[in-house]
Amino acid sequence: MKGTYLGEFEEVVLLAVAIRTGDAYGAAVVHEIEQQLGRTVNLGAVHTALYRLEEKGLVKSEMGGATPERGGRSKRLYVVTAAGRRALEEIRQLRNQMWETIPKIAWS
């Protein structure tokens, strides 16, 4: 298989998980994406993406502690796996590669 295909939204979510290392869970990811990208994100979309990423082995999760602002409910904490990191780097590298092959003439 030629690398795992990552959707644009999955990529954003994976990046957000990486940014919030140690404190990445549904609401935190929503918050992070809304702050960084300034776009409105649905919780359902984020959860679906996290789920799928976990199935693809790009993140792994464990249950974390509860805090009062969550009404005492616990959270599922995600961390990026080695495969996840590789996938991100691959994407970045592919993008850079493509950037570099754009001829100057394209920006007229």
């Binding site: 869970y25 929503v30 359902g44 602002e69 009404g71 616990s74």
Partner: protein, 878 residues
């Protein structure tokens, strides 16, 4: 307005989440939702946060998140499959245009009806809820017994108010006497308008939670200030600030405007109260009211109370029950019982019979609710019938899909998405129809309903309702057909298939058609009875000549003082050929007196006769018909002690020779000089009230004018107007046509008639639509059979007979079921009216005949089409 209690997310959304969320996911999802909510409240406010919360809950409704097994592999192709289902559903709908159109139109008509009736019921049930203290307000009412029957009135004697205040003060937080809502002339400068209003005690505004826009509500403490509703203030003062401006009421007294309140909504008891005057003024200016302050026998006043928070209506009612009997010994013989009638029951539960509450208006709410449910049911039955009928055709498709590897759940999803899609289309179409029909509906139902487009709760109900309809209608093909074994279907075991699906399905379809037609026929019979009853009452001899009779309310002092000159001037215009004054409108009797006595009167009987004061010309003006004796005449000076009575009075008094009888009343002897044919009073469905007419110009409050028939009404009125302006400069010229006033008496019945006609037509329409669909389906199913029969020599007529017969049998059964039901229900309804029709056989005959004809027309179209088809075409492909 209501203070924000706590920043909590919408509870129903949380509940929804808990409904669908699998247990192992619930904790983290709820946690995330709560955290985001708290954050958003701080960032962008409560509204935004709540809205986003709802969005998030819905966004969590995803197949991949809903799997109940924690480690199950979510199906990545789920959304793709959904798209496929929808595509296929679309293609199926487009392929069978007739079926789809019948389904969608039928269902949307049913939904439109259900939505309209739902809105109407909601409006009825939420009546009076505008008032904050709605569940603690009551009016004081009384039961009293006369001649062995108990009557119930909401008029109380005036001293009761003071007695409640002094003896039971602890039970009430507010007590307010009020006058009845009546028309008055309001003027400010040159502006003059006629509006309805009440004189009330100062507690009224806070009790009814009037929303004060400008000024204060305290003005009612002062006898010369007034509160106006916003619309009246606007009409009198336009854009100016009305506070402290002066208005004049009925061209008499001046009031200072001290407060403006928000107009009361249409669905409250006090919707007509557009201004308030102080009770103190009413008391001071109206001598008979002043005299009533100590009179326990005059039941003429409205008394409103708000009970204290620590008590109940029942407890207070028990305490005040004997209050009148205690204070007024002479009234005790009527066994008066005071009680509280709570505001929440005023609108729907205000009918009394012999001292007990009876059904009242609430029965219409349930009746229409049931009808709405039935019409929707009819539409759903069509839907089910057509989809099951058609689903047999799709058995092959099911077989192929299964053979290729579809799972049963996927087939179910396919069928359900089709039916839900149809329901969705129907819902959208239904909403459009509701929007278009609302003005008309409001007109015939006397409402001001608007569709709550902005209310997300009603949308949720609507969507849920659509889903349920879709799932219900799609359940049969979904569950039954998806269970087929592909081997059986595909090996061409057509016969066994028909054994499997045909027998039961056909039987249930037939039952459903019978149910449909039973409902439709019942509604049609009901409608015919209602319309017949209205026509019956309209054809009843009225007893006077309504056309060209005009009446003017003499509510200003200028008109009361009118003279011979006024009369002369009116006649001089040529527009009026006669005029007279009286104390009640032409088809009403507004007062009665119980103290008449006549020879042969049973001493135990109360002589309660309606009393009307008239002038000499009254009889000739309204054109009443003398049956015996003579009319009043200026040639007989003794007529000041004479009476004309109506036929009902003659019967009531038990007089054989009425003319010449002497009647004792108020210490004087009156001679009956004439008996007139009954003029219908009150409801045209009820017996005419026994009444006596006497010459009493001083009682007069209406002027009746007989217009010159040679002129058009508009011409006549334009000629009369200057005379009224001359003699009554203070008020606008307001008049009523007797014919219109009379027609008003039929309004409730006509409203029922119109609604019933509408619903019955809809039911017939939906049923026929279903019949049409089924007929075309059967015709198509039997195409080969028809082809073979034709080849063997069957005529078109015999084929038509063959195809129509089955349906006629079903409709006949429906008629047989519907007739007794309709008879029973309508017989019961007619008992409300004394003057009523008997349900005659021709109503049933006409309905059955009509149903047969409509069935034949509907079915024939398809049957003839099938019978005319060239057999070569239907037989060639095998």
């Amino acid at each position: 307005m209501s203070m924000p209690k706590q920043n909590i997310p919408p509870r129903w959304a949380t509940w929804l989440l808990q409904c669908f969320c699998p247990a192992h996911r619930a904790n983290e999802m709820e946690g995330d939702l709560t955290e985001l909510f708290e954050m958003r409240v701080k960032l962008s406010g409560l509204r935004q946060a709540r809205w986003r919360y709802v969005q998030d809950v819905f966004s969590l409704l995803r197949p991949s998140l809903l799997k109940s097994k924690p480690d199950a592999y979510p199906n990545p192709s789920h959304t793709d499959m959904l798209r496929t289902y929808i595509t296929i559903a679309f293609r199926n709908l487009a392929k069978n245009r007739t079926y789809s159109a019948i389904n969608i139109v039928g269902l949307s008509v049913g939904m439109t009806t259900a939505i309209l009736i739902g809105l109407w019921m909601w409006d009825e049930l939420s009546y009076n809820q505008y008032h904050h203290h709605y569940d603690r307000i009551a009016r004081v009412m009384q039961h009293q017994s006369y001649n062995g029957t108990t009557s119930t009135t909401l008029a109380t004697p005036l001293p009761m108010r003071a007695a409640l205040q002094s003896e039971h003060a602890g039970e009430f937080t507010h007590i307010a006497s009020s006058s009845w809502t009546e028309d008055h002339i309001l003027s400010a400068g040159e502006k003059k308008i006629s509006r309805k209003g009440n004189c009330v005690e100062p507690d009224f505004p806070s009790m009814m939670s009037l929303r004060i826009i400008k000024g204060t509500a305290t003005g009612l403490d002062n006898p010369s200030s007034a509160l106006l509703s916003a619309s009246v203030a606007e009409a009198l003062f336009g854009g100016e600030d009305p506070i402290n401006k002066t208005i004049r009421v009925d061209s008499k007294d001046y009031f200072k405007v001290t407060g403006i309140y928000e107009d009361l909504p249409y669905n409250t008891e006090f919707r007509d109260v557009t201004f308030l005057l102080p009770w103190k003024y009413f008391l001071a200016e109206t001598p008979w009211v002043k005299r009533s302050e100590t009179n326990w026998s005059n039941n003429s006043f409205l008394l409103l109370v708000q009970i204290a928070p620590n008590t109940t209506f029942e407890k207070v009612s028990a305490k005040i029950e004997k209050i009148k009997a205690r204070h007024a010994k002479e009234e005790a013989r009527f066994d008066p019982k005071a009680f509280l009638h709570p505001m929440s029951r005023w609108h729907l539960h205000s009918e009394w019979e012999n001292g007990a509450a009876v059904r009242g208006r609430i029965q219409f709410v349930w009746l229409f609710g049931i009808i709405g449910g039935f019409v929707l049911l009819l539409a759903c039955i069509n839907f089910m019938n057509l989809s099951t009928a058609r689903s047999q055709k799709r058995a092959k498709e099911v077989g192929v899909r299964k053979a290729v590897g579809s799972r049963r759940s996927q087939l179910i999803a396919q069928f359900l998405s089709e039916s839900i899609m149809v329901a969705m289309f129907a819902f959208v179409l239904g909403l459009l129809m509701v929007q278009v029909l609302l003005p008309w509906f409001n007109h015939i139902a006397d409402k001001q309903i608007t569709f709550p487009w902005g209310d997300h709760q009603s949308w949720l109900i609507g969507l849920g309702f659509t889903f349920v309809t879709g799932i219900l209608a799609g359940s049969y093909p979904a569950l039954y057909l998806s269970g087929f074994r592909p081997v059986k279907v595909l090996t061409g075991a057509g016969a066994s298939l028909r054994m499997q699906a045909g027998r039961f399905a056909a039987l249930s379809r037939q039952t459903l058609v019978i149910v449909q037609f039973t409902v439709s026929i019942t509604l049609v019979i009901g409608t015919l009875v209602v319309l017949g009853q209205i026509r019956h009452a309209k054809n009843r001899p009225v007893g006077f000549d309504r056309s060209g009779l005009l009446s003017v309310d003499m509510n200003t002092p200028d008109l009361l003082a009118t003279s011979r000159a006024f009369r002369h001037d009116l006649l001089q215009t040529g527009a009026a050929i006669n005029l007279a004054k009286s104390s009640s409108p032409a088809a009403e009797v507004w007062s009665s007196d119980a103290s008449f006595s006549w020879p042969g009167k049973d001493p135990a009987q109360l002589g309660d006769l309606g009393t009307v004061g008239i002038t000499h010309e009254y009889g000739r003006t309204v054109n009443w018909q003398i049956r015996e004796g003579r009319d009043f005449s200026p040639d007989f000076p003794t007529d000041s002690l004479a009476m004309v009575i109506n036929e009902s009075a003659a019967r009531f008094m038990g007089l054989k020779e009425a003319v010449g009888t002497r009647v004792q009343w108020n210490g004087a002897a009156y001679t009956i000089i004439g008996v007139v044919h009954d003029i219908i009073t009150g409801s045209p469905f009820m017996p005419v009230q026994p009444a006596v007419f006497m010459l009493r110009e001083d009682w007069a409050s209406f002027i009746h004018i007989r217009l010159n028939p040679a002129l058009t009404a508009a011409d006549a009125i334009s000629k009369l107007e200057p005379v009224f302006k001359k003699y009554n400069p203070g008020s606008p010229f307001e008049y009523k046509f007797a014919s219109e006033e009379y027609d008003r008496k039929f309004r409730t019945e006509e409203r029922i008639g119109q609604l019933a006609t509408t619903f019955a037509s809809l039911a017939i329409f939906i049923s026929c639509l279903g019949l049409f669909g089924l007929a075309s389906f059967f015709a198509e199913q039997r195409r080969k059979e028809i082809g073979i029969r034709k080849v063997l020599g069957a005529s078109v007529a015999s084929l038509w007979k063959m195809l129509s017969k089955d349906f006629l049998i079903l409709v006949t059964i429906a008629c047989l079921v519907a007739m007794p039901i309709a008879y029973y229900v309508m017989h019961d309804w007619l008992q409300h009216y004394t003057y009523r029709i008997t349900i005659s056989w021709w109503i049933f005959a006409v309905t059955i005949f009509g149903a047969m004809v409509i069935t034949l027309i509907t079915v024939s179209f398809q049957a003839v089409k099938a019978a005319l088809l060239n057999p070569v075409k239907s037989l060639q492909n095998e």
